[in-house]
């Protein structure tokens, strides 16, 4: 019996195509009718993939058709966007996907959870059998090993996550911390959301246009404060995110000195996203003040990207080992020792025993 992977991802197809072939609850049923003995559907925002085992060869067009969710043009027009990998290459692909090596952001860990959920769904619907069980368990094991033995997941890779990591090193627990956003912009909003996701609950927004401040504050469940008072706010807050369109520095050492005197030893983390910069670089010289501009944040994110890229070789070596090992097991099964009629209850038991 052969097993294969068929699908498309962010590299092979734009979102307009991916959303047309997003797959649906009936996709595995259709594929079972076409002759697949085991089927798993993995759908994320970046990929739609079918992992299946079948005795006969099933045409790509038929599989693509099973994934189509609309009545638009035929799948034939999009077949070049799909890839198909058989047996060992299929195993390698799943192992790489689960380990985050095939993700848009290399090393992201969310994909492992999504793969586990896809397998649990396949198992619950009776579409996963012994072969997919072995394949998936091996993929999860390989992914864990890649995460623990390499630094592929290390370091923040977006401006928002860099800010969160830095804030956590400066303040420890972020719960109860106070943040002021000066101005408004996409990056500052994203950064604020990232901080809020880690427990920052006191969010203040200040803008030259009060209505804009109110709007953003409402959106972020924070409070709007008058722009004239932003400097006074600096006595209370822990994190300042600045992204105004001012042409000169809004915060300079002479303005900050009296504020720091009132803050005692409380650190102040300033994220200056504005270009030109809102905060004079000399401010970073003060004890307890940590100033990061957009370039510093981007540089840290890009260093993390580079570090992850450097770890790819080590991660691929781990994947190679698991593929070779899996192939060896597959060889045994082809010679007839694999229990092909494995009881589904036993598989479920093994699944429960293994870490989902």
């Amino acid at each position: 019996m052969n097993f294969f992977c068929f699908g498309l991802n962010h590299r092979t197809a734009p979102i307009e195509v991916r959303e047309r072939f997003a797959g649906h609850a009936r996709s595995p049923v259709v594929l079972r009718h076409l002759g697949c003995s085991e089927v798993l559907l993995l759908t994320t925002c970046n990929r739609v993939e079918i992992y299946a085992a079948a005795e006969a060869n099933i045409a790509n067009e038929e599989i693509a058709e099973s994934l189509r969710i609309d009545d638009g043009p035929s799948s034939k027009n999009y077949l070049e966007a799909f890839y198909r990998k058989e047996n060992a290459e299929c195993a390698r692909h799943l192992f790489r996907v689960a380990a985050g090596l095939d993700s848009m952001v290399v090393g992201e860990t969310e994909i492992l959870g999504q793969a586990k959920r896809a397998y649990a769904d396949a198992l619950a619907s009776g579409n996963a059998g012994p072969l997919l069980h072995r394949l998936c368990q091996r993929a999860f094991r390989a992914a864990k090993q890649v995460r623990s033995k390499t630094q592929i997941t290390r370091g923040p890779v977006s401006v928002g996550s860099v800010a969160v990591d830095l804030a956590e090193k400066i303040f420890g627990d972020l719960r109860g911390r106070k943040v002021l956003v000066l101005g408004a912009g996409e990056t500052s909003t994203k950064t604020l959301r990232a901080l809020a996701s880690r427990g920052v609950s006191d969010l203040r927004v200040s803008n030259r246009t009060p209505a804009r401040a109110e709007e953003l504050a409402h959106e972020l469940e924070g409070i709007a404060v008058p722009f004239a008072t932003w400097l006074e706010q600096c006595r209370e807050i822990d994190i300042l995110i600045s992204s105004t369109a001012a042409e000169t520095h809004l915060l300079t050492p002479p303005l900050l000195v009296p504020i720091l005197r009132d803050r005692a030893d409380r650190p102040l983390f300033i994220i200056d996203i504005a270009v030109p910069r809102d905060v004079a670089p000399e401010v970073n010289e003060f004890d307890g003040v940590y100033l990061y501009d957009i370039d510093s944040l981007r540089e840290i994110a890009s260093e993390s990207h580079e570090l992850r890229r450097q770890q790819m070789a080590a991660a691929e070596a781990i994947i190679d080992e698991h593929v070779a090992d899996f192939e060896k097991h597959l060889g045994l099964s082809q010679s007839g020792t694999r229990p092909t009629k494995e009881c589904p209850t036993r598989v479920s038991g093994e699944l429960r025993a293994s870490e989902l």
């Binding site: 390499t150 630094q151 290390r154 370091g155 956590e168 090193k169 005692a264 030893d265 307890g288 940590y290």
Partner: protein, 260 residues
């Protein structure tokens, strides 16, 4: 036999240091069970050394400079094993091990000389000496926490985030550990200082003056911390400087003690 125990203990700590250096070079720096176990094994061997030496001497084995250094290294390892686990500062081991190795490597020096004259057992003297050395152990760990704080703070200030950045604890955690270790050391040191006056033997004034100088130094750091006179970074710097000063004064105390 006892020297062999010491050599094995040094090897264990050295293994922890080598492992740390390898991790640094490979840029894969993470909390390592190996480092913790190596330090724990080194600690057991050190304890065995002190026990064998203590039985042979019939008193607390702090009769010469080597024994004092070994006892100090033992105190540091003990406090690390307690504090590092309790405050989740296991990375502290990476910083502690080199300090311990430096002290244990003292067996290479010709300082393991038996006392020229036997001393009558004196429980106050033993209490005074041992509690003071354990206090030094706490100060040493405060120095380690201070060094970690300075490393982390420098990375945050200069925006140069190395691999270790993601493994070092946040600044407030390090500062809190540093403060507690300072208090712990200061209380023990005060007890050691007070007990020194009950030893019942005439003490050289230089020894008393140096001991009080160290007490004042650490008292001033704690005072500065609670009155808000000094920023955390300054306190971390002082923890490192004060321990260097205290360690050299400890040697002076020993040196002066032997001469007088």
């Amino acid at each position: 036999m006892d020297r062999q125990l010491l050599i094995f203990a040094t090897v264990c700590y050295l293994a922890a240091v080598i492992r740390t250096v390898i991790s640094f070079r490979a840029r894969i720096f993470r909390r390592s069970r190996f480092v913790f176990l190596a330090i724990a094994l080194g600690f057991v061997l050190q304890t065995a050394f002190l026990s064998v030496r203590g039985h042979a001497l019939g008193s607390c084995p702090i009769t010469n400079l080597l024994e004092v250094l070994v006892f100090l290294a033992w105190s540091i390892a003990l406090i690390y094993l307690l504090i590092g686990t309790a405050y989740r500062l296991s990375l502290m081991g990476a910083f502690t091990a080199p300090l311990v190795v430096l002290q244990l490597a003292a067996w290479l020096l010709p300082i393991d000389t038996p006392r020229a004259f036997p001393i009558a057992p004196n429980p106050w003297l033993e209490f005074h000496a041992s509690i003071s050395i354990i206090a030094y152990g706490a100060f040493a760990l405060a120095c380690v926490a201070g060094a970690m704080y300075l490393v982390q703070e420098r990375q945050l200030k200069t925006h140069q985030l190395r691999s270790i950045f993601y493994h070092l604890p946040p600044l407030p955690n390090l500062f809190s550990a540093m403060t507690r270790l300072l208090w712990f050391g200061f209380i023990l040191y005060s007890a050691g200082l007070i007990s020194g006056f009950f030893v019942g033997e005439p003490l050289p004034w230089t020894k008393i003056a140096l001991a009080i100088a160290i007490w004042i130094l650490y008292g001033a750091i704690l005072q500065g911390r609670y009155l808000g006179w000094m920023a955390p970074r300054r306190i971390a710097t002082l923890c490192v400087v004060a321990f260097a000063v205290a360690l050299s004064l400890l040697w002076s105390i020993e040196f002066v003690g032997h001469r007088v």
